[in-house]
Symmetry: C2
Subunit: 153 residues, 2 copies
Amino acid sequence: MIKISKLADYSVVILSTMSTHSHDLMSASTVSELTKLPEPTVSKVMKLLSKAQIIQSTRGINGGYSLIKDPEKITMESVITAIDGPIAITACADGAEPDCSLSHSCSLRGRWDGVNAALRSALETVTLADMLKIGGAQTIKTHETKDAIHGSH
Amino acid sequence: MIKISKLADYSVVILSTMSTHSHDLMSASTVSELTKLPEPTVSKVMKLLSKAQIIQSTRGINGGYSLIKDPEKITMESVITAIDGPIAITACADGAEPDCSLSHSCSLRGRWDGVNAALRSALETVTLADMLKIGGAQTIKTHETKDAIHGSH
DNA sequence: ACAAAAGAGTACATAATCAGTACAGATTAG
DNA sequence: CTAATCTGTACTGATTATGTACTCTTTTGT
């Protein structure tokens, strides 16, 4: 099964909470109360999101996090990349495994690159705003998924 | 990280081997020798592929597996689904977790459905034939990724 | 200057999942 | 009936993710 981490799932919950309750600044503990998610976890997620510049952090007393982008401009690609790292698929695909001695199989090295690109662009078509809408109507905007796919065409 | 199991990776290696050495029938052990992959693993993969009707099995002595489709008609979607199960994303997305007591978070139940659909259609655009080509030229055919995405539009 | 509140960074134990293997059953050809 | 081959299940070890704890830094308010 293709899997996205639970943290990525939480991210959506957290971001949606932040976007609906439009306080400018929300602390991790406030978000934790609203979402019922454990605080350390919320804190971890928000830290990652801020590092990826999806949200902004303000330190010190009365500090907190705030959204810096419109939900329409936050793609799932950016969120997932922020939380789970770059979108890539096992083994050879991500460039790891230098000791790959399987001659024949690795003649196909890089074979998943196109698939990765396809997945990445697919995720770029879905924004946080889309995710919020889904609770009600089930319609997703689908710009051009095609463009990003060609390798060196 | 979005992850696809190693078995799915092996599948591509195995299928490519079967398509190039076009013997009509290949036993799991033959494929194992050619790919240098451990035999039990190969056997497991081929079993799953045959169950998904991507390849065909013939039992008994002198039996084996054979391709029943053109590489162009074997999509990565079908291969991954065969090996890793339906393309879906954690938790609520696949309909599991009936004891989901997180009130607020689950008001967003189904929020990943659109993402799943996007991923699925992206994978449908890549065929085994594309994967084989990738070793040399890096060009992927990209039919219409858009169509399958709309939910109930 | 100091204390309190909040984010940042690191590290770790547990739990879940996957990979790989092994073994026993079923099927077919000769 | 025997050898070769696929089918199905079950087990074990390793990897990975998760959730949590602890400590450090930053900033504000008094």
